[in-house]
Every structure is written in structure tokens, then in C-alpha cells.
């Protein structure tokens, strides 16, 4: 979706305000939302692209007005309802009203959860799973528009031309993974764009570059 989350190149957000101290969490509820998300992710009620998709569906004004971990909370509540684990009535009443089917979703203890998180999620496929359409050094153009549901091709790169500097390997395709309609493994490339090809005469320095990792489906030959 070409939504409010797609920030690259936008103006009007003011200066960046670096803060020396890094508290990670600014309130205790942020800790708990983080913990809940990891614990529920660990028993896979959702994948990371579905999670991103839900956050992208937060209405634009609300997206800008909520804190980072509030967005997680909104997505989490949506998932729990979508998977039939929790009902809207339960969330409104803050009380359990029915037994969820927890088969295959037994909660893991802390040690097991850390082991799962330490292992990570396998998103990569053997390199020969798909034949690459592009070679390193090839000039490519980013396609103009993508699936409305979720994609990882930022708007500021659409229609722009760059050079493939690495074929990273074969990865699952976020657009279809986010909709639970298939992994569609394909090559992922690091594409290098000259700042002047993105921002024209307004680029800060002609020799500067932006690099992005783009799925093969996002690219077309020039």
C-alpha cells in the first residue's frame, strides 16, 4: 500500500532530534506490548509481513498520532481477533468470555521463547530455488505501482532507474506472504540509485547514493 507509512523523501516533519540516552522503552506498557508481540509471534499467530501490513492499515491521522508501540498494540489486537483467539467483546470488557482453541499455540516459557527468537525466522531459500532475471551490474527500473495490500518498494523509488550491485539470494515475497497467499520465492537484489536520479538538481551531492533491497517482482529491465 502506498500509505502514510511510506515516508521516504517527504518534507515537513522538522529536524531529527537525537537523544543521547536510549531507554528503549519510555513507559512500562511499551515493555509489555513488546513482550506480548514477541510471545505471540513465537507461537506464530502471524508473520512479520502480516504484522507490517496491519500497521500500514492504521488510518493515516492515527498513524501519525500514535507512538511506535501503540501501533504494535493496534496490530496485535487485530491479529488476536482475526485468528479467533480473542473477541472484540472481550477487549471491550477486559474479561475472558470464551475458551480459545489453543491447539498448536501452547504458550512457551521464557527460555523456549528466547531460543525461538535467537534462532530467528527462516526467510531465505536455496539460491537455486529461482533463476535470477537480472545479473549484477544490470540497469533496472522500479515498477510504477504495486499490489495495494502490502509491498516493500518505497514510493520514492518508483519509476527510478538504478544498478544492481548484489544478488542477495532467494527470499519469500512480502506482498503475498502478507496476505497468506504464498511465499513466491524470488531473487532479492541490492539496487544502487544515484542521488541525482532520485532528487534531480535538488540532490545534496551528485555522488551520493541510496541503496535499497528490492524483490525481483518490483523491478523491470530498462
Amino acid at each position: 500500500m502506498d500509505g502514510i507509512h511510506d515516508m521516504g523523501g517527504m518534507q515537513g516533519f522538522g529536524p531529527v532530534r537525537p537523544v543521547e540516552e536510549d531507554f528503549k522503552f519510555s513507559a512500562d506498557w511499551e515493555r509489555r506490548v513488546f513482550g506480548l508481540t514477541q510471545a505471540l509471534g513465537g507461537i506464530t499467530p502471524f508473520n512479520v509481513d502480516e504484522f507490517r501490513r496491519q500497521i500500514e492499515r492504521i488510518p493515516p491521522a492515527e498513524y501519525l498520532n500514535t507512538l511506535y508501540f501503540e501501533k504494535w498494540l493496534i496490530a496485535l489486537e487485530w491479529f488476536l481477533q482475526d485468528r479467533g483467539l480473542v473477541s472484540a467483546e472481550e477487549l471491550a470488557a477486559s474479561a475472558k468470555l470464551f475458551d480459545a482453541d489453543t491447539a498448536g499455540r501452547e504458550p512457551v516459557d521464557g527460555a523456549a521463547l528466547l531460543a525461538i527468537l535467537g534462532e530467528g525466522v527462516e526467510l531465505e531459500y536455496p539460491r537455486d530455488t529461482a533463476v535470477p532475471a537480472f545479473a549484477e551490474g544490470a540497469t533496472v527500473r522500479v515498477k510504477l505501482r504495486h499490489d495495494v495490500s502490502h509491498n516493500r518498494s518505497p514510493r520514492y523509488l518508483r519509476g527510478r532507474t538504478g544498478t544492481i550491485i548484489a544478488d542477495i539470494g532467494v527470499f519469500q515475497f512480502p506482498d503475498t506472504v502478507a496476505q497468506n497467499i504464498g511465499t513466491n520465492p524470488q531473487h532479492l537484489y541490492t539496487v544502487c540509485f544515484a542521488a541525482a536520479d532520485l532528487w534531480g538538481g535538488e540532490a545534496e551531492a551528485a555522488g551520493d547514493e541510496v541503496l535499497a533491497d528490492l524483490m525481483e517482482s518490483y523491478l523491470e529491465p530498462v
Partner: protein
């Protein structure tokens, strides 16, 4: 449950804090999570995972040319051999600053970040301003951090659009020949490994 609401005085957060507490209690009652698991994972990311991980890798590369070559050539395997792997860091790559190139990392679409090496991202990394401006005016953003990159140094901004997570290896400061690996690691800052500081 070890969490404690006594520090939570912000009236704006009150509603959200209550909502989160109710959600956790509901999920515990339904047998979907245990508060012990939450406590463990929160504590892990607060205490065990943070920029010191990344700093140890950078310092090691500064003193060990063979390691550095392997690290730059095959980040995921080299880092995994050191025990650095996991969620939001399954495919981490290290990019090296040189006198000719200054690297900087952003995620314009959300806030992807190499958790196993740096922990959770700071607030400014997640801010709309950083996400918006890092790709279009990186030098102005660096100026917000007090960093001036010379005109003849190229700035390369890495937008974390897929599952690869990037760590910047800053240049080893001059005059540090006498320092050992641990002392060098102490010099390396979190912002240096994002690319918004020079070390």
C-alpha cells in the same frame, strides 16, 4: 508479574497503559501467554542485547584483518559464528566506512534494525523525520547530529526495505594503535554503527 506501574504518571498514557494491562491479563487467562515469558524476553532485550554486541564486532574487525575480510564478505555466517543471530537479524551485513564513503542506515517504510547487534532502535531512528529525510537529504540529517561529512566523501544511504539488516563499521580513529580490542569496543557508539556518528 514483575512490571510496575508506579512510574507511569503521564496522563496521556494512562488509557493505553490500562488497555495493555487488560490485554495481558486476558491473554494469560486464555492460556495464550505467560507473564513469565514476557518478563524473560523483555529483560533479555533490555539487558543482554544492545550496541555493545555490535561494538565488539567492530573492534574485532579493527584489530583482525582476516576477520574483517570474512565479515565484509559474508556477514551472516561470520556473525552467526560469534553467536549473533536471531529475530530481526537473520541476514545481517556489515558495511565499511572509508575516507571516500560514509554509510548510513534507515528504514523508510517502518523501523527495521539489526536487533541482535544493536538491540532495539532509539526513538529518533523510528521518528517520521528521520525516516522521511535520511534518503533525500542525508547530509542535512547528519548536521542535526553534529556530523559534517566532507564534500568529497560520498554518502551512501542504505534503506532497509527487505530482510537484510545493515551495520555500519566506522573508521578506526587515529591514535588508537595502543588500545586493545576491549578498549576499542568502548569507543564505538550506537550512532556510529547506524551511521549518524563518526565512531
Amino acid at each position: 508479574m514483575s512490571h510496575d506501574h508506579s512510574h507511569d504518571h503521564d496522563p496521556l498514557e494512562k488509557g493505553t497503559a490500562l488497555r495493555v494491562r487488560a490485554l495481558e491479563e486476558l491473554l494469560v487467562a486464555k492460556g495464550l501467554v505467560t507473564s513469565e515469558a514476557l518478563d524473560t524476553v523483555i529483560s533479555h532485550y533490555e539487558n543482554n542485547v544492545g550496541p555493545r554486541n555490535g561494538a565488539s564486532v567492530v573492534a574485532k574487525a579493527w584489530v583482525d584483518a582476516d576477520f574483517k575480510a570474512r565479515l565484509l564478505a559474508d556477514g551472516p555466517a561470520t556473525l552467526e559464528a560469534l553467536g549473533f543471530k536471531g529475530f530481526q537479524g537473520e541476514h545481517m551485513r556489515v558495511i565499511e566506512n572509508t575516507p571516500d564513503v560514509h554509510n548510513m542506515v534507515v528504514c523508510t517504510l517502518c523501523s527495521c534494525y539489526p536487533w541482535p547487534l544493536l538491540g532495539l532502535p532509539p526513538a529518533w531512528f523510528k521518528s517520521m523525520s528521520y525516516r522521511a529525510r535520511a534518503v533525500s537529504e542525508p547530509r542535512a540529517v547528519l548536521a542535526d547530529f553534529g556530523v559534517a561529512v566532507p564534500a568529497d566523501t560520498s554518502v551512501r544511504v542504505w534503506d532497509s526495505t527487505a530482510e537484510v539488516r545493515y551495520l555500519v563499521m566506522p573508521m578506526r580513529p587515529a591514535g588508537t594503535d595502543v588500545l586493545n580490542e576491549a578498549d576499542l569496543a568502548a569507543l564505538v557508539t550506537r550512532d556510529g554503527m547506524i551511521g549518524t556518528a563518526l565512531v
